[in-house]
């Protein structure tokens, strides 16, 4: 990689002319006054605070409800680009579900030697409780977030899959709501595919995966760890938008083989539980006994076919960073086709050759913990100091199997509004995928995360990232 990487800017070409998807927006933007826009930006922040779209920071007082910064320049994707992406995403999500079914049943892919047995057997995300269990409707991952990055005109890579409980979809919806309020005229000039059906589709998709003996008006509920969880706002938001109850573990008990919630009129059965509680905490009788967040015995009802849990327990085995490197094989194994979306080349540090390469090239690579998330425990080689590199080298040598490494990608940029006007910043994209037994629905766009610091490649909100509204144009 050269010293001055040339980044692909999604809005402007080298000469300063807008790329095709941004032509309409650029025309509008040139007619706007910068001061007005900055004022709008402050309005947007007030709007978010008032609406309470905040996330809690663990271990801090309620005074520390943070806003994820919102940038008002949209990220725009053409209808053609999107069509290609959706084909790739759908293929990948189908493969993930087939993989999960196989891993918890016949394990053909292990027998075929395409994925090493140890990677599954020794993986904490593999749940023996799921062996032989068929989830209602055959769906494992009802909601998936596929994180994509772009490096060129037609170059998209999957950075990671989120098959457990992907978050952030409330920002996708509220970002659009904010843009509609601030710039209604833009949406009459430019035809943008709507995202507002997501909650309706989510409800429909969850209800379609209900257990077979479910009551005709199937009852869906959202299970939250509670008001102090960092994503509580999103849990409440989704329950509200779907028109279903938001429950905590202590609202629920199990009677008559059903999971029931305590209502003002006694206990009422739940058919589908959209849980935003991790596997470990889901059921103290079956997993972590010290968990106060879950529902004791819910796994037993689940195994008896009395409830749908979304996403199914044990899906983490499919989005593990060590499994990630096998995804092209996994897609091919189950779909019989080449993967449409590319993986980022990945060195598995558990392998001696790969480890040697990674140690030799540490200052050029991004190294991630296999089980890490949220941008924690990650090394961005080119941005790290000598001291940081040395410290990481020690950790890596001590526990190589704990890490994977990837080249530092030249992430595309989209401008944000700064004091001085537009300035390019690196972005990624998380589209949201809903899986029902009969169909897969992908909301056009998704959540664009943007690194607000100049030159930074880390877009996570916990590391100072912001978000943008994401537009997919009608063709």
């Amino acid at each position: 990689m050269s010293d001055t990487p040339i980044f692909f800017d999604e809005m402007y070409q080298g000469g300063g002319a807008p790329r095709a998807p941004y032509a309409g927006y650029d025309g509008w933007f040139r007619g706007e006054d910068l001061r007005d826009l900055r004022k709008k930006s402050a309005d947007a922040e007030r709007f978010f605070r008032r609406t309470g779209i905040t996330f809690n920071v663990y271990g801090q007082a309620e005074a520390d409800e943070r806003l994820i910064p919102f940038d008002l320049v949209p990220r725009i994707i053409s209808g053609r680009e999107w069509a290609r992406l959706t084909r790739g995403i759908e293929q990948r999500v189908r493969a993930i579900n087939a993989f999960l079914h196989d891993i918890y049943h016949r394990q053909e892919i292990l027998r075929a030697g395409r994925v090493p047995v140890d990677l599954i057997a020794k993986n904490a995300a593999f749940l023996p409780q799921m062996i032989g269990m068929a989830p209602p409707g055959g769906v494992y991952t009802h909601i998936v977030g596929v994180d994509l990055v772009r490096t060129g005109e037609d170059e998209f890579f999957v950075l990671e899959d989120n098959a457990r409980t992907p978050s952030g979809v409330s920002y996708m919806l509220e970002n659009r709501e904010t843009m509609l309020q601030m710039f209604p005229e833009l949406f009459t000039r430019i035809k943008v595919q709507p995202v507002q059906d997501y909650p309706v589709n989510l409800h429909r998709s969850l209800a379609a995966s209900a257990p077979r003996d479910c009551s005709p008006d199937c009852t869906v509920a959202v299970l939250t760890p509670g008001i102090h969880n960092s994503a509580y706002f999103e849990h409440a938001f989704l329950a509200d938008q779907m028109g279903v109850e938001l429950v905590e573990g202590h609202d629920i008990r199990i009677t008559g083989g059903k999971v029931q919630m305590r209502t003002t009129q006694g206990y009422k059965p739940i058919d589908v539980l959209y849980r935003r509680v991790d596997d470990d905490f889901l059921d103290p009788l079956n997993f972590r006994p010290d968990s106060l967040l879950g529902v004791p015995g819910v796994m037993d009802v689940y195994r008896a076919g009395g409830i749908t849990i979304a996403n199914a327990p044990g899906t983490g085995i499919a989005d593990d960073k060590a499994i990630y490197s096998y995804m092209p094989d996994i897609v091919e194994f189950y779909t019989g086709e080449k993967a449409i979306l590319q993986n980022v080349p990945t060195w598995r540090c558990s392998e001696a050759d790969a480890l040697a390469y990674v140690l030799d090239h540490l200052s050029e690579l991004v190294v991630k913990e296999v089980h890490g998330s949220g941008g924690y425990g990650m090394l961005v080689g080119p941005a790290a100091s000598k001291k940081e590199l040395a410290a990481f080298r020690a950790k890596l040598t001590a526990k190589p199997a704990n890490y994977i490494a990837q080249p530092t990608l030249a992430l595309s940029t989209v401008p944000i509004l700064t004091q001085a006007g537009l300035a390019p910043r690196h972005v990624d994209l998380r589209p949201y995928v809903l899986v029902a037994p009969d169909k897969i629905t992908i909301t056009p766009g998704g959540l664009t995360r943007v690194a607000l610091k100049k030159g930074s490649l880390v877009v996570n909100s916990s590391q100072g990232g912001g978000t943008k509204d994401t537009w997919v144009l009608e063709e």
Binding site: R50, A236, D251, T263, G266
Partner: protein, 313 residues
């Protein structure tokens, strides 16, 4: 609806009502301090007693002092009835029941919290107090307006109203309880009209000055004021009015759910006593005893509602 949600709505509206009542009490104390000749701070003791937090205040500050009392009632998080405590608790409950309230109500509560948190970030000087109190009143009106304008009239609404009126009944009864000795005609006071400051305190703390004058053409007698605050169903903070609202909302719940609970029998008894009661009889039997019984009944009713609708378990 989840039992927990019903409980959250109930407490959210209790705390909203409490924040407004506390603000009104501060206003009363402040107003009397301004219009009174002598220099002691007696009215603040009375304000703290009315809010049932005098013991907390004296534990912390030892002796009464206007600025400290105002600060304690406005901003002290150690005082569960302070405006800031109550509004924080209301918002915490609103977050809990976010799915049951409309976006407008949530935003009104959240906005109220943010505005008041900022306004009460530092001690409020006497000069700024009227403006801050006006702000609290305005914000309460905003929440109430959002609620009445946007919420469905279903069980959710009923639990909100139950919280509001249980808190209000409790509050008005406490004001009467703290001041009952003022209203009791003593030998020297029989036939004389009440001390100005004393009855003003009472009426102002329930926002009933104008209303009372309008109804009685300026005649102020102990029995008249007690009658007004206990039995007058036109007075929106009277015991009879509050209990009437509780009865109505419990009846709606009975109708909607098709189930009669012990709380329905309890409210029928309480409402009947107020409907058929006479102020002369209350004075004969003892005003203090009447109020004490009433407060106990209201507290029991609250617990019964909590049990009948499974707020906790």
């Amino acid at each position: 609806m989840l039992g927990k949600t019903a409980g959250g709505l109930f407490w959210m509206f209790r705390y909203l009502e409490r924040s407004e009542n506390t603000a009104r009490l501060i206003e009363t104390g402040f107003r009397i301090a301004l219009t009174r000749a002598d220099g002691d701070d007696d009215e603040w003791t009375s304000v703290l007693q009315t809010a049932s937090v005098a013991h907390l205040y004296f534990e912390k500050h030892g002796q009464i002092e206007a600025a400290k009392a105002i600060d304690f009632m406005l901003r002290d998080m150690a005082n569960p009835s302070s405006v800031l405590s109550a509004i924080s608790a209301a918002r915490q409950n609103a977050r809990l029941v976010r799915t049951a309230i409309t976006r407008e109500v949530w935003e009104a509560v959240n906005d109220t919290y943010m505005v008041l948190k900022q306004a009460l970030a530092r001690p409020v000087s006497a000069r700024d107090l009227p403006e801050v109190l006006a702000l609290i009143r305005q914000q309460s009106a905003l929440v109430r307006g959002a609620m009445h304008g946007t919420m469905l009239r279903n069980d959710i609404f009923d639990f909100c109203r139950l919280g509001t009126f249980l808190e209000r009944a409790d509050n008005t009864a406490r004001i009467l309880d703290v001041k009952y000795y003022v209203l009791l005609p003593s030998i020297s006071q029989i036939g004389s009209s009440l001390d100005n400051v004393q009855w003003e305190t009472i009426l102002r703390s329930v926002a009933g000055m104008r209303a009372y004058r309008w109804i009685t053409q300026g005649e102020t007698s102990p029995i008249g004021i007690a009658d007004f605050l206990i039995f007058d169903t036109r007075m929106p903070r009277s015991l009879a009015f509050s209990v009437g609202k509780i009865a109505t909302n419990l009846a709606y719940l009975e109708q909607a759910y098709g189930t009669r609970h012990p709380c329905h029998a309890a409210i029928d008894g309480l409402a009947g006593r107020l409907r058929h009661g006479k102020i002369e009889r209350v004075f004969e039997d003892g005003l203090h005893e009447f109020i004490t019984d009433f407060l106990a009944d209201v507290a029991k009713l609250g617990q019964q509602v909590e049990a009948d609708y499974r707020f906790l378990g």
